[in-house]
């Protein structure tokens, strides 16, 4: 079991409440998995700026003087500390230089996610504690996904928590277990992908990243996943402007979706959706097996 949620807003007036809405959805799913929890929030990207969400097991030492250190690579760097995580904002053109400096000077710091808009927070512990230590409720954004984990395939660690991010502004949450992830990981490593964990879900995320790098959009990448991934999965996936859902053909991992004029929402169970505005009159349905659902803010606009 695991609990997964996702929310893709259509109504801009709800954007300031994204973090609060998604937090509520995830906390309700706590009894589906108590091991670790995580949320990815897509905020408004700022022109010419890039974001890096990092994590440390020893934040007091690793984050000490971090901003001053990174300013050597990019004078415009800002670092916002949030418990065990920090969000580093840089000039987009300098992002890779900053990242190299970070890896060199603070090798124990792990990158949770990077891109123009995504921020990813995940830790061992209950959803209520994870959302409160990172102040998720106060965050606004356009869309986001969340996960509460009951571990089966790899260790209960921060890095083993979801969402998994393997490409810029891409992330994935997974309920299920893959059976061909070791083989697929070897193939992806050969194509140049790198992996942080032995986790099956990270392989699914990296697979989608690799497919999108070949020019596919999220919907097309998810369609390929149905052919190439073996096992049980309900995935909810975010990109900079997109939001996708797919279930394996057996579809034993639960999923419920709701759509109104204001949002598209996903929950492992209907319970996760009951506090959303207008849910009483929403179109509520169970996503079909082996069927890709995909929305994009940019394509809609």
């Amino acid at each position: 079991m695991c609990g997964i949620v996702g929310l893709f807003l259509k109504d801009k007036s709800l954007e300031p409440q994204l973090g609060a809405m998604l937090s509520d959805m995830l906390v309700i799913m706590t009894d589906r998995g108590p091991d670790s929890a995580g949320i990815a929030i897509y905020g408004a990207p700022a022109d010419g700026r890039a974001k890096l969400t990092v994590q440390s097991a020893k934040p007091t030492t690793d984050f000490a003087g971090l901003e001053a250190l990174l300013k050597a690579a990019d004078a415009s760097v800002t670092v916002e500390l949030k418990s065990t995580h920090a969000v580093i904002e840089t000039d987009a053109a300098q992002a890779s230089v900053v990242r190299d400096l970070l890896a060199q000077e603070r090798p124990d710091i792990r990158v949770m996610g990077s891109g123009d808009s995504v921020e990813i927070y995940k830790e061992v512990g209950l959803p209520k504690d994870v959302v409160s230590r990172f102040g998720i409720r106060a965050m606004g954004g356009t869309h986001g996904i969340g996960h509460t984990r009951m571990a089966t395939e790899s260790a209960v660690t921060t890095l083993g928590a979801h969402p998994f991010s393997t490409g810029a502004d891409q992330c994935l949450v997974h309920n299920g277990s893959l059976s061909n992830h070791n083989n697929l990981r070897r193939e992806l490593v050969r194509e140049g992908m790198t992996f942080e964990t032995q986790n099956d879900s990270e392989v699914a995320a990296a697979y989608l990243t690799a497919e999108m790098a070949k020019g596919k959009d999220l919907g097309e990448a998810l369609t390929s996943a149905l052919d190439d991934l073996d096992g049980f999965f309900t995935f909810v996936v975010g990109t900079k402007s997109g939001f996708g859902v797919v279930r394996d053909p057996i579809a034993c991992k639960p999923a419920v979706m709701a759509e109104t004029d204001q949002y598209i929402a996903f929950g492992s169970e209907y319970r996760a959706l009951v506090n959303l505005p207008g849910i009483e009159n929403a179109r509520v349905w169970e996503p079909e097996p082996a069927t890709v659902y995909f929305w994009d803010h940019e394509k809609a606009a």
């Binding site: 639960p254 419920v256 509520v284 169970e286």
Partner: protein
């Protein structure tokens, strides 16, 4: 007649608001009904997707659930009448023994699984594995059903006014299946069978019991077991 009407109106419906009352209070109340009592009408408000609403009923009570429920609603029902004015999560009416369960909306996977008796009516669609391992339950679905429905069904009836997904009736025993729409594919050892007059009469009874009046038994096709996989035969190894 006036007297009995007056009596009925005096019998207050007991309402449980699950926004403020623990689920266990509802289910305990349903489990402690003395045989023969008249106090048998229950209403549940704000179920908000709760699990195990009205499970284990063993008296002829009536439960009206105002909203959608989560896993295992009305599971093991033995004689109760449960109506969900909303949709139901996985495993609704699982292992029902007798009574009636009506879902006004949709039902998620394995609705009516392993049911031994009673009637389950789903007015919307049912997802995958509807009636899996059914053992005597009657299930009537107005909409469509998902893949692997009636898998290993042993007895009882599954009536579908809409379409059925892949692998209908895989490894079927003696459950009888009636589908009005398209069947995407039949499972191993499930075949279409002739609709004889006795089957039309049976289907008419089932539709009547479920309150379906707008379709005719003649519009359905009948499916059942080819009975070639009952006992293991090495020549059938590929079919398992």
């Amino acid at each position: 007649m006036n007297v009995s009407l007056k009596r009925e109106s005096l019998e207050a419906m007991r309402t449980f608001d699950l926004a403020t009352t623990p689920l266990r209070d509802l289910n305990s109340a349903l489990h402690t009904i003395a045989p023969g009592t008249n106090d048998t009408n229950f209403e549940v408000v704000n179920p908000r997707g709760s699990h195990s609403v009205a499970v284990g009923i063993d008296q002829p009570v009536t439960v009206e659930v105002r909203g959608s429920v989560g896993y295992y609603c009305a599971g093991m029902n033995d004689g109760g009448t449960v109506t969900v004015h909303g949709s139901a999560g996985p495993g609704v009416a699982e292992n029902m023994m007798s009574g009636t369960v009506v879902i006004e909306g949709d039902a998620s996977q394995y609705a009516g699984a392993t049911g031994r008796g009673g009637l389950l009516v789903i007015k919307g669609n049912a997802a995958s594995r509807c009636g899996i391992s059914m053992k005597g339950i009657d299930i009537v679905v107005r909409g469509n059903i998902g893949h692997m429905s009636a898998f290993m069904g042993q007895s009882g009836h599954l009536v579908v006014l809409g379409n059925a997904g892949d692998a209908l009736g895989d490894s079927l025993y003696e459950a009888k299946l009636f589908v009005r729409g398209e069947v995407k594919s039949l499972g191993a050892d499930c075949i279409q069978k002739e609709m004889k007059p006795k089957h039309l009469r049976l289907l008419a009874e089932l539709l009547d019991k479920a309150g379906v009046t707008d379709v005719k038994p003649e519009e359905f096709k009948r499916y059942g077991s080819a009975r070639t996989l009952y006992n293991f035969n090495i020549d059938n190894a590929d079919a398992y």
